[in-house]
Point group: C3
């Protein structure tokens, strides 16, 4: 995988300043050295939205674990009640400069490339709602366990906001639920209550909230029982084609995002959506 863009832009000769790139207040990372399993707990209230800061911290944390030989698996979960992650932070896409849109979108790409392509076993322990980009994080893991509460929903609901899920969100979704379910859900921008999400294969298993952590650990142990090397090569064989499609079209995808998001009609849709969210509170 290509070196992560932000680090490369560090001016040479200057001391490595621990600015945003080293923030560590949005995700709590704990590594259990005895089992080799880390937990990344999202703690960015109110809704764990995927801001540039959040994504930056996510990528750095994941890379550290990836390079740590003591770590073989990661559980993603939330420290915020009732929400896993609300998806991409709309404020990063509204009224900003082209440069900002580009930087933000590269961070979104990087997050997915690192997570979907991770050599570690990745388990999503989904303890709350998980729309749009939050759903993508879950879809990119090897296994998804969700709290059985039907008030918690998950899905790629971009169309509801008047925007379109990028092709690699779609590709990831199709590999999990199949073409037909994806076509319908993406066009309707469906948010699936947990029981429906399991029925269509979007999540693998439902558990009561108090059993979630225990279940994630048990599933992780099952996956870690396999020899790492064979499992990693197998995972790579399954995911390479989808990863390669974005790698081959990465800059084009950035340009498409900028040109789409900077349209006045889209900006207006997003502003209206944010107003609606504010009134909801």
């Amino acid at each position: 995988p290509p070196a992560w863009g932000r680090a490369a832009r560090q001016p040479p000769g200057l001391p490595h300043t621990p600015c945003r790139a080293f923030s560590n207040n949005k995700i709590l990372v704990e590594l259990d050295e005895s089992s080799g399993v880390a937990t990344m707990k999202f703690k960015s209230p109110p809704v764990n939205s995927l801001s540039l800061d959040f994504l930056t911290e996510f990528c750095i944390s994941l890379e550290k674990l990836e390079n740590n030989r003591a770590c073989r698996g990661v559980i993603l979960t939330s420290a915020v009640p009732r929400i896993f992650s609300s998806g991409l932070d709309i404020t990063e896409m509204c009224g900003k400069t082209m440069e900002h849109y580009a930087e933000f979108w590269r961070a979104v790409q990087e997050t997915w490339l690192r997570l979907y392509g991770s050599n570690m076993v990745t388990v999503a322990a989904i303890n709350g709602s998980s729309p749009a980009g939050g759903c993508l994080l879950a879809l990119s893991c090897d296994y998804r366990i969700m709290v059985e509460d039907p008030k918690f929903t998950i899905g790629l609901n971009e169309a509801q906001l008047g925007i379109v899920a990028p092709f690699w969100f779609k590709d990831t979704f199709v590999t999990v639920v199949g073409h037909r379910v994806a076509e319908r859900a993406l066009q309707l921008g469906s948010l699936h209550p947990a029981p429906e999400a399991q029925k269509i294969g979007l999540v693998d298993e439902l558990v009561p909230e108090e059993k979630l952590q225990e279940k994630a650990v048990a599933v992780m142990a099952q996956w870690l029982a396999l020899p790492d090397h064979a499992r990693q090569l197998t995972k790579s064989m399954m995911r390479k084609a989808v990863l390669d499609r974005l790698v081959a079209h990465r800059e084009e995808d950035v340009k498409n995002f900028i040109s789409f998001i900077s349209k006045e009609s889209i900006q207006k849709s997003l502003r209206m959506y944010m107003e609606m969210l504010k009134k909801k509170k």
Copy 2:
């Protein structure tokens, strides 16, 4: 999408003659301007077979709706009892000239390209049996509702007639039911009773006949609740690869069809099949 072939062949300078291309007695089109929903009702007894006339009228009607800003969705249904559409008209493929086969096949292609690629929301309200090309019409819509009567069957049964479904019939089918179900059903030329069709995902929903219209309208309203632009881009993202495959191989596909259909063994199969149909009556 490319301009529709027939219109282009209109001699320049001559008055636009309302010949076959403007027949409007095989499909009843009604547009409810308040909801933006049109209904195309097939009324070509005895079995709504897809003759060159029918397909021509279908394409022209669909294009008119597509270009009508007051129209956002189309419901396809039948005015003939117990049959949605019996599929391609075999008389068009039997004992005709090469030119006729080519013209007919281009109309079949055009029908699918327009319907599968339509920007409108398309709902099939399947109120009768729907073999072969009739099934393709339904498969090309965004949503399929079928009357629950198990006497009504649907499927790509070409193999039963000794012929082979074209690759783009197959591609469309695979995106709906998946590779395994398609492989088995295509080889067996299966016609699925409505309940089985729903079980394998070939239709989305079953309803009693008297509820069909009401259900189609309700489903349409759900799909039209989404912003058109985002929904259309999403639909196009999902269907582009399959559409492009035929666009790239269109003339080759015409040649293949002609060379296949004009084989004496195939002509004999089709004649036998027609004899059988006549005796059935």
Copy 3:
């Protein structure tokens, strides 16, 4: 399909010696001329492992049937109690020369190319466990019937042995069970008890052991009711892309196999696995 390699190496001018290539003691082939259905019964105790000899005999037998106009379908089953086939013979992959590995792997490829691409109707009557290469044989047929006993398991469990299923094993698996089920099962090296195998679509039907033969014959009759020509063209349309991928990368795949299997770490894994199997007895 390319001519089968081994025969070509027969020295010219010499009488055609019935050496290994003509062994016929590992598979019992019976052809019922009245129905046009052959049965290939694996009788290579203790576990019908796919040795070079077995694969050679399999290819030759299949080719003979393929070229026999009296034969339209083949049922694969086992004459050894409680096992369909244990998969590739590990002794062929352990402590042998590079030449041997290459010869063995070409035979594995050839077996799959012939079976997956067969013009005949192929039905697997799975009367016992069927891991790894045994599962591949079943996956390559048109239809899979398994004895309902949950003690019998089936799956591509290569990852459990520390090795990786080749891409064309994976492709075949994905066309049958879909991407998501395949991704999980391949990474975990899952062996599915018969009822679970049916639930995920890995086998089509379960029957009591005493009904297996009767059921296979009935299914075969259903498939043979279709005209051969249309059915064969349809099968080829469905399978060509997957077949072509191996045909295009065949020598590369041989090299990959040799370089992987001759690694000391892999050899060690396989030796340990064989030790474990011996102790089990």
